[in-house]
């Protein structure tokens, strides 16, 4: 567990920088904003203590918020997603549970499992985020379309990133 810390630290910095300086400037038709930084929460180890999980999520959301001057918005959505993570993991666990020494990544548990896992959590995160951003229910449908499209885009990016990880490991 200890030896993973430097790698996650680097992951954290890279994801925040990519989100703030690249992805925040992307928008397709004023509708679709990918939020790739949630990948960090997705790939944390299975054994992480629950309090640390929430704390890390809070810190991650706050870092994104600092750069977007939307204090509290990403923080609350990311904490919400981290809260759901243990329950989702329990819900879709394979028959013989999770093996030790593995991480919740595509290469350990396969594409179908990973897509299900990331889709649920990313959708929950985006749902929370977009509704708290507009802060009203009057444009319910428009917001919902934004949630769905952005979730699809983020899931797509998350899957691509998994193949990056995979290639790195083989070297």
């Amino acid at each position: 567990m200890i030896k993973l810390i430097p790698r996650y630290l680097i992951n954290f910095i890279i994801l925040v920088l990519v989100q703030v300086f690249v992805l925040n400037n992307i928008q397709l038709g004023g509708f679709v904003n990918p939020y790739l930084y949630v990948l960090f929460i997705l790939i944390l180890p299975f054994e992480i203590p629950s309090w640390l999980l929430l704390f890390v999520a809070f810190f991650l959301g706050m870092s994104i918020d600092l750069f977007s001057s939307t204090i509290g918005m990403h923080t609350s959505a990311t904490v919400f997603m981290a809260f759901l993570r243990p329950y989702v993991l329990k819900l879709i666990s394979p028959r013989d549970g999770y093996e030790s020494e593995t991480l919740p990544q595509l290469k350990y548990y396969g594409g179908a499992w990973f897509i299900r896992y990331s889709a649920i959590l990313i959708f929950a995160h985006h749902l929370f985020l977009f509704y708290i951003e507009v802060f009203r229910l009057s444009s319910f449908f428009t917001t919902f379309v934004r949630v769905v499209l952005s979730s699809l885009f983020t899931i797509f990016l998350v899957l691509i990133s998994q193949y990056f990880f995979r290639r790195d490991r083989r070297k």
């Binding site: 904003n33 809070f58 600092l66 939307t70 509290g72």
Partner: protein, 276 residues
């Protein structure tokens, strides 16, 4: 007592979650107010430094375009200057102390961060308190509207973009002076909605919409956009769709307009309200 502790230990995940969530929502609500908090100020100063560096890079890309725009504006201003000279040939004229009657003061600033894809968009400018910017000042680009200054720190300030669901502006139809309230509809960075224009007003697609000057923030006659389409709403008013003249995706240099007599206007208006 022991069972209580056990219980708390068992649900500590939920408790922590609620704690974090309440804290972050509280932060969010505090920042939804019109006035900045110290925290936002801190983050602005902090991220403003980063954004300025990034923006330095970005500027080079649009340099040609920006140059051309400046040249065009220069030509226009020179033309105006020329025409004032010509009308100046009257021999006897009273001396007009221009600084006495000066109402608006312009300051130029550069945008270091801008967004158009949220529901509440803000811009960051590279000037702040030390350069004379104050909250409630108007921001324009090339004579058309951009937003209003929300908060200032020492060297940076944030501007509520016109593309923000919370901002409402008093606007009027240029040709006949009917005025109403303009707000963004959240549907893309090129359109907005003008309400409260009565049905008997004679309007057509293509008419110019300008600021009314009825607030102490904007001078009269700043270009907002052109009528794209309109329809009747609730029987007595038009709902007019406006095509904005400002290209929010392509903003770089802006002018900040300070109203030197803002305090005077606000004072006398609050006195009138008190007497009611």
């Amino acid at each position: 007592m022991k069972s209580l502790l056990n219980f708390l230990l068992r649900i500590h995940f939920l408790l922590l979650f609620i704690l974090f969530e309440v804290f972050s929502i509280a932060l969010l609500l505090n920042n939804n107010h019109f006035h900045k908090t110290r925290f936002v100020n801190f983050s602005r100063q902090f991220s403003g430094n980063f954004y300025e560096k990034i923006d330095d890079l970005k500027k080079y890309v649009s340099l040609t375009e920006e140059n051309q725009r400046l040249t065009e504006e220069n030509t226009r201003l020179l033309n105006i200057l020329e025409s004032t000279y010509k009308s100046d040939e009257i021999f006897f004229r009273s001396v007009n102390d221009t600084t006495l009657n000066q109402t608006y003061k312009y300051t130029s600033a550069r945008i270091v961060n801008n967004s158009v894809n949220k529901k509440h968009n803000f811009l960051t400018l590279n000037k702040g308190n030390l350069q004379g910017l104050r909250p409630e000042m108007a921001v324009v680009s090339n004579g058309s509207i951009v937003g209003v200054v929300k908060g200032v720190s020492k060297n940076y300030s944030t501007v509520i973009s016109l593309l923000n669901l919370d901002l409402k502006i008093s606007a009027k139809v240029k040709k006949n002076g009917y005025f109403g309230s303009l707000s963004w509809d959240g549907k893309g960075y090129y359109s907005a909605t003008l309400n409260e224009i009565p049905l008997h007003a004679n309007i057509q697609a293509g008419d110019t919409i300008i600021t009314s000057g009825y607030s102490s923030i904007y001078p009269e006659g700043i270009l907002i956009g052109y009528i794209e389409s309109f329809k009747e709403k609730s029987g007595s008013f038009f709902e007019i769709k406006i095509k904005l003249s400002t290209d929010f995706k392509n903003l770089s240099n802006v002018n900040v307009i300070g109203n030197l007599k803002q305090n005077e206007i606000v004072d006398i208006e609050s006195q009138a309200n008190k007497n009611d």
